[in-house]
Amino acid sequence: MSGTSTAEPERIQLSSAVVRFAGDSGDGMQLTGDRFTTQTALAGNDLATLPDFPAEIRAPAGTLAGVSSFQLHFSDQDIHTPGDAPDVLVAMNPAALQKHLSALKPGGIVIVNTDAFTDRNLQKAGYEESPLHDGTMTDYQLHEVPVTGLTLRALERHIEEGALNKKEAERCKNMLALGLVSWMYSRPIAETEEWLEDKFSSKPEIADANVTALRAGWNYGNTTEAFAFTYEVKAAQLTPGRYRNITGNQAMAYGLIAASVRSGLPLFYGSYPITPASDILHELAKLKHFGAATYQAEDEIAAMGSVIGAAFGGHLAVTASSGPGIALKAEAMGLAMITELPMVVIDVQRGGPSTGLPTKTEQSDLFQLLYGRNGEAPIPVIAASSPADCFDAAIEAARIALTYRTPVALLSDGYLANSAEPWRLPAVDALPALDQAFAFTTEPNQQDGGFAPYLRDEDTLARPWALPGTPGLEHRLGGIEKEEGSGHISYDPANHHAQTAMRWARLERIGAQLPPLEVIDPSGEAEVLVLGWGSTKGPLQAACHELRARGRKVARVHLRHLAPLHPDLDDLLRSYRVVVCPENNMGQLAMLLRARTLVDVKTHNRVTGQPFASDELVEVIERMGWGEQT
């Protein structure tokens, strides 16, 4: 780092910090956040991120609709959420300030790019006059930084030499902001410099301009006396091991590759682009050297059909979509279910119904996956609970699919998909040996040398998986009801009832063979149970942690398996005085639990497109659990 300091600002030690970058969609806020995340991960902090961006690729510049933000929570402790209220807001224009100021902690730090506070931009953001000097900012520590002007000045030489024009130079302003915040939080920027040089290796002049802007931001903090403090968050004491940062979609893709490697089956991934699931396709398309075939189908139905074909052919078949696409796949999922072929259907949930909120998170597709098919069509449904957990969830989905020969629905959501967290890398050899989960049938299973494709394994109730190409096992599958054993078309009334019951029994068999449910209750005396599924795990974990710190005895269970529900649940729920089930939907799991256990499960529901804040959950659980008593 170059530059000398005139007056060394005081360095304050913090346990954790929450920083939010906000700006126009074109301001590069996601990239700025990503870089700050990597720097923070390399500094050894535990962290969680929350990217939030509009569905429009380029919403009108300067408008509230066009604001894109990225929040990062980092700590020297184990943390579970991207943080509730930010300590620092970087607002690259008035719209970003307008949209995010209210979220900031009282007394929090605001860094604004004053160059963007033009009359036109103020008007677009709905300000009648500049909020910087009308009293709006009195409760905050405001830092007015001419980010654009400083960037242009830092790049004067580049512009003069014709390496880039003014507009291109302005585009480097996010790096200047990153440099400044990196200085504030004592984050080394060398890694970002390397990253920029690598990313723009074919355009060295652009790389150099960005590095220059980044350093200028750092030096600005270091040399001006505007900032009285810098902050330091020491490395967290994480469980020993090798770590990397990972987003949910990336972890999902890696989990599928791991399932392919551990099962010995080549991966076939057929899908149709849809937000927020497409990144899984992008990741897998880069991993063909693992033998993975990726197929971008003409539509969601075709993607689902291709996966059925690939499963019939003996590959590890996977598709992913989001709610609207899953709706289109429903009929084919029913076919997959009745033909009892193994495959994984991932739903990266987003705000619904219909097109809904494509880039926002929600947990409202649970019922769709459980029941959104014609007839009695039970399939296992599981959910991932954190970005890194998508890796394990993908392997578990493949395990169930291969063991029981069934399509498995795997729920993720927009929050998990795009958020990042440090991930302790698993030992590859210790991952489940999925090749033990199945064997292709190669010999006839009838006395007379014939083959009955629906003759079941007594333990798993799975039918044989016999691949085309196997001599002597020629058979026909289809969506029409089939006779047990032979698989022949059957319209026999009693057979249909028996087959329907069998398909439910097979689902319940999966539950019966699960390990015991994990209940987290450090006191061992809790009377209140908090129960959740999916991406609410982080906020629920943080809330329970806080409640216990306040002396509340609270137990927590987080469900991986939504269908079948764990057989332990009935007794478990009945053993608590109060059961609270917060969800980012209108009470779907709670309804299931009530129906199944007849326990009066309390609900807390919110669908704002954002994950729960942990302090909101602390208040809710406290009120529902102990409200009458205090």
Binding site: G44, E191, L238, P240, G241, R242, Y243, R244, N245, Y254, I257, V261, P266, F268, G270, L287, K288, H289, F290, G291, A293, Y295, A297, E298, I301, A302, A303, M304, G305, S306, V307, I308, G309, A310, A311, F312, G313, G314, H315, A317, E331, A332, G334, L335, T339, L425, V428, G449, P468, G469, T470, P471, G472, E474, H475, R476, L477, G478, G479, I489
Partner: protein
């Protein structure tokens, strides 16, 4: 069980299931032709897969003693595509109909043809919805009076061969249920072609649409109306070859008395890369009630989607080596906590 050494017969491709089409249905003839043909060309039952959608024709796989998959309405090409990508060792046949393939599954048909996936698609065209008991279909003539259209259908029919050529399918042919020899010929061509083969088969539904193809099926009429396409031969037809197909200035084709045609008679060449003439041929017959071209319209070589996809996988492995899971997980920035 069969081995590669045994010479198979039609019986080896016939399942023990009772065939349940209506007596007199054109599907019986097609089934018998396909079963015999597979034995003749040395296909193996275990390497053969029939995939269908929904409709009368889509019951086909149950009657073949091969692997089979009776899928859902319109989606057979999608299941077949997944299978073709993962299993290059199989011969995959898709059996569909005019409703299944051109109405509810029209999108998949178009994209499968355009991709040139290694499949043989047999479209049984009977110009009617049979399984739902007699509504008009996308190939029914304009003004068709059926249960759902008592005052006549309002939508123009689609010409399956034109549609396939529009999607630049690499093998496009037409035949008819009862002409075993001709049907065998085009099916053999489809089997031998690498890429998507599309064969439209006129098939009589004697219950709901009897006689739709009488002009091409019945003795006394078919001799006048079947325009047999023979590669390398001038396109003439009629009992004495008295009618001929000539090209107009605008590229369209027209039927004239052979004696007037002289040297303007079009010589059939299905291997033309440009599909324009094949398309013009398909437009000669707006409906199969008059002179109608039969045979192979187009047969060209083009890269096959699933072959190319597998090549990409192979070339990625060549470039990066066999994927290593530890290396993948540790890619990017890692740090150690002690």
């Amino acid at each position: 069980m069969t081995t590669n050494e045994t010479k198979l017969t039609k019986k080896d491709f016939t399942s023990d299931r009772e065939v349940r089409w209506c007596p007199g249905c054109g599907d019986y003839a097609i089934l018998a032709t396909v079963q015999s043909l597979l034995a003749d060309i040395g296909a193996r039952p275990e390497k053969t897969v029939f995939i269908s959608g929904i409709g009368c024709s889509s019951r086909f796989p149950y009657y073949m003693d091969t692997y089979g998959f009776h899928t859902i309405h319109g989606r057979a090409p999608t299941v077949a595509t997944g299978l073709a990508i993962t299993r290059p060792d199989l011969d995959i046949w898709v059996v569909t109909g005019d409703g299944d393939g051109l109405s509810i599954g029209g999108n998949h048909l178009m994209h499968t043809l355009r991709r040139n996936v290694n499949l043989n698609i047999l479209l049984f065209n009977n110009e009617i919805y049979g399984l739902t008991k007699g509504q008009y279909s996308p190939t029914s003539p304009l003004g068709s009076v059926h249960k759902s259209t008592p005052m006549g259908s309002l939508d123009r029919p689609v010409n399956p061969v034109s549609l396939a050529l529009g999607a630049e399918a690499t093998y496009v042919a037409r035949s008819i249920d009862t002409d075993r020899q001709h049907l065998s010929g085009v099916l053999r061509g489809a089997y031998e072609h690498r890429g998507t083969s599309f064969v439209e088969i006129y098939q009589n539904c004697n219950i709901f649409n009897d006689g739709a193809f009488a002009a091409l099926r019945e003795k006394g009429q078919k001799e006048h109306n079947q325009i047999r396409l023979v590669p390398g031969e001038p396109i003439t037809f009629g009992p004495e070859g008295e009618r001929a197909v000539i090209a107009e200035q605008d590229g369209s084709l027209r039927i004239v008395p052979t004696e007037e045609a002289g040297e303007r008679v079009v010589v059939h060449d299905p291997t033309r890369v440009e599909p324009t003439t094949a398309f013009a041929l398909s437009r000669l017959a707006p409906s199969p009630t008059g002179p109608t071209p039969m045979g192979v319209f187009r047969e060209v070589d083009r890269p096959v989607y699933d072959d190319e996809l597998r090549k990409q996988v192979a070339s990625a492995r060549e470039r990066y080596g066999e994927g290593d899971l530890v290396e993948l997980l540790e890619g990017g920035n890692v740090w150690d906590v002690l």
